[in-house]
Subunit: 473 residues, 2 copies
Amino acid sequence: MRLLVVGGSDAGIAAALRAREIDPSVEVTVALADTYPNYSICGLPYFLAGDVPDWLSLAHRSVQELRGAGLELLLEHTARAIDPAAKRVTLTDGAAHEVAVAYDRLVVATGAAPIRPPIEGLDLPGVHVLHTMADSFALNESIGGRGAGSALIVGAGYIGLEMAEALTTRGLEVTVVEQFPEVLPTVDTELGGTVRTELMAHGVEVLTGFRVEAVGREDGALHVKGDSGLERSVDLVLVVVGVKPDSVLAGAAGVEIGVKGAIRVNRRMETNLPDVFAAGDCAETYHRILHAPSYLPLGTTAHKQGRVAGENAAGGSRLFEGSLGTQVVKVFELAAARSGLRDDEARAAGLDPLTVGSVAFDHKAYYPGAQELHIRLTGDRMTGRLLGAQIVGHTDAQVAKRIDIPAVAMFHELTVDGLNDLDLSYAPPFGSPWDAVQLAAQAWTIQWPGNALNLPRAEELEARVAGGRGSGA
Amino acid sequence: MRLLVVGGSDAGIAAALRAREIDPSVEVTVALADTYPNYSICGLPYFLAGDVPDWLSLAHRSVQELRGAGLELLLEHTARAIDPAAKRVTLTDGAAHEVAVAYDRLVVATGAAPIRPPIEGLDLPGVHVLHTMADSFALNESIGGRGAGSALIVGAGYIGLEMAEALTTRGLEVTVVEQFPEVLPTVDTELGGTVRTELMAHGVEVLTGFRVEAVGREDGALHVKGDSGLERSVDLVLVVVGVKPDSVLAGAAGVEIGVKGAIRVNRRMETNLPDVFAAGDCAETYHRILHAPSYLPLGTTAHKQGRVAGENAAGGSRLFEGSLGTQVVKVFELAAARSGLRDDEARAAGLDPLTVGSVAFDHKAYYPGAQELHIRLTGDRMTGRLLGAQIVGHTDAQVAKRIDIPAVAMFHELTVDGLNDLDLSYAPPFGSPWDAVQLAAQAWTIQWPGNALNLPRAEELEARVAGGRGSGA
C-alpha cells in the first residue's frame, strides 16, 4: 500500500509516522515544498528572540530520523494537482521539473497561509509575515542584519504577543496594534487587560481599537497609518493577524470545502473523495463541545488529526475525538491559557452560559512564591456542565498544565461542580487541597441556582425548559 | 436541624462549611480537641524548615472566618462518647468539665494518629512524631531551642522526605532510614532511585533496607540501633512511618469498622448508624479504579469526603466519587507524583498490567530550561485502560499539575492510548505538541499488542479471555 502525504509539517509527519507505526508494510512518501520537514513553527518567535540560537534545533525530528523511520521524503516538491480518478499527484521539484506520484491513499496536509489584511504597502521591504522558515530568516535579517531599532506589530493574538516579547528581547522598541478593544482577544477582556498591563510593564506600546490602513516608506523608515489618527514611523512592520486554510490544491481536485475555507472532513479525517484524507491547518476541526466542524488551526490539533488520518489511511479505524481549542501563550512573565468556549461563544451556539471570574493562589499562600491566578469558568446554567475555562497567571504558576485539568474534564463532559470531585495532586509548594480550578468551580457553583438545596431546583429547571433557554436566572 | 461535627481539621471543616453553604438554616457546631481548627497539617514541614515564619499563617481560615461562616466552634473539646440512640455526644472541655451536645446529624472527622512502630525508647526526650500543631511546636523546640545538630528520620515516605529537606534547610546533618529497599516506596523503585540521588546530592545520608529497633540516650545524644549493624548517634529522632485511622470513638459507639481500622462508610459517607457520617483520615476511602474501600489518608480526599458528608448531612444527595491516591511531594529540586495503581497493586487486584517507563522533556528542548521528566504509565493489557501514572522531575517542570492529566483521565476510565486524544495546552516554553504524558502514552502503546493493526488483535484478545487474564503477552 502506497501512502502519499502532501505537506511535511505537524499533520503530515504525524500521519506518515503513525501509518508506519501501525503497519510497517505501508510505503510512505512525504512531499513538501521547502526543505524543512517537521519544523516547529511555534518555535519561530523563540528563534527570533535569540532564545534558540540554532534554528536547526527547531526541527522536531531531523531528516535522518524521518528517513530512519521509513519515510521517503521529497523535499522542495510543490504539489500542483491531484488526479483523484487516476490516484496520482503532480508535483514540481526544485528545478521546476514535473513529477507524478501515484498513491493508494492520500493525506492532504497543506497547512495554512498567513492572512494578508487589506493594508496598503504590505509588499514593501521591511514588512513581514511569519509562518514559514523562510519568513523567519527574512525577519531575522531585518532585525539583525539591517539593525532595526523599532517595530510595529499588527495583531495582538498569540503570535503578535510572542513576537512583541521576542522583539523587545532583541532590543527593539515595540508597538502592538490590535483592532479589537483588548489584546489577546481569544480570552475575555478582563484577562486581556492583565496581559496588556504585563506588555506595558515591559515597555511595549499597546494600541487597541485601531485599524492599520497603510504602510509607506519615507526617509528610510516605514510609515504606518491607521484610523483614528494612528501614525507611527518604525523600522520594521510585522503583520500577524491569523491564518487561513491552504485548501486550493484539494479544492481544485473536487474536494469539498467547509468552514472558513477549510477542507471538509469527517471524524475519520476523510474528505468526500475516496482514499483522500486531510488533516491539520488545511482542514476543518471537529469541536468536541459544539459537536460541529470548526476552524481551529493549532499545532496540537494538527498532530492529533495527522495521527488519526495516518492510522485510518493505513487501514485502521479511529475517530478524531475533537478539539476544545486548548491553548496557552507566554507573554513575558505571564502565561495565558484557555480551553473550551467563552461566554459569548457559548451564547452564540444557543447555550445559556454563566461565567464567573475568581482569583486564587497557585499554591498555599503560606509557602513562599505564591502567585495569583485569574480564572474564569463558563458553565451551562441548564445542566451545570463545564463549557470553558480561562486562566492567566505567572509563568511559574503551572498555568499551562492547570488549564489541562478543565480541558480533560470537558473532554469527558464533566459539570463545573464535578471539578470538585476530581482527585488532583496537592503539596503546599505546588497547589492547595482544593486546586485553584476547584476553588474557581466553587465560586461558580455558589452563583449557580442548581447549587442550593433550598431552591426549588427541579421546578425551576422545568420552568426554564418551558420558558426557553434564555430565561435562566 | 443541628449538625455536630467532631474534628476541626480538613474533613470536619469542609463538612461544616458545605452544610452551611447549601442550607444556611442548618445549625453547625464543630468540636475539636485543640485550639487549631482548619490548620494545614501538610504545611508543618515548611514551618519547621523556616519557609513559613509565622505558624498562624498555616490556618486555611482563621477562627474569625469560620465563625463568620456561621460555625459554632467548641475549641479544646475532646469527644469522649457518642450515644447514637439519644443522638448525643459527650465531650470534656479544657478544664475537664463534661459537656453533652445533642445532634440531628453527626459527622465524625476524628482524623488519624501517627503509627508508633515497635521501637524501644520512643518516649525519650528528643524523639518526635509529627502530626499535630503540638508535635510541631515540640519538634521546633528540639531543633531551635536545644540547638540540635543532627537528626535521624525513621521513614522515607512523604513526610519523612519533606522533613529531610526541612531539617537540612535548618542546618542539621540528616540521616533517613527506610526499611524498604528504596526511598519513597509509594512510587516504583526506578523513580525512587532518582529521589534518592537528589537527597544524597543535598547531603542527606540515605539508609534503605534497615529497620530501626531501639533508641537510647548516651552522653547527651540519642543512640539509634537497628538491624544489620545500624548504629548512629544524633541529637534528634523523628519517627514518621505513616498514620492509622483514629476510629476509637466511633467504634465504641457501634460504628462498623472496615479496611485497616478505618470507619466503614458508603459513598454517601454514611456509617452503619442512622444519621452518623464519617469523613477524612478516620474513614475508608472508596477507590475509583478498584471500586472497593481502601485507606488513603490524604488532605485532598479529606476535603472532598467532608464536603460530601456535609452536603448529605444537610439533606443533599451526593456520592463521594472516589480517590485515585493522587499525590505529589517536593524533595529539594524534585517533584515526585503519582495517581492510580502501580504495577504490583494492579496485579494484586487481579488485573494484568503493563507498565512502561519513558523519559520526555517538560517542554520543547530547543527552549531554554527544558527538564527531563521520568514517567511510568501502567495500563491494563486486556482493555488498554490507564490504571496508574508516576512522574518525577524538576520542581519547575509542572509535575504536580501534569500528574493531574492522567488523574482526570483515569477518573473517566480513559485508555492509555486515549491520552493521545486529549486536547492539552502547548507553547514551546511550557510543553510539547504531544505533552510529555502523551509521549509516555505513545511509548506504552507501542509495547501494547492491541496497538498494531497487523497483529490478530481480536483473536488474540479472545484467546486471552479463554486462557484467563494472566496469559497476556
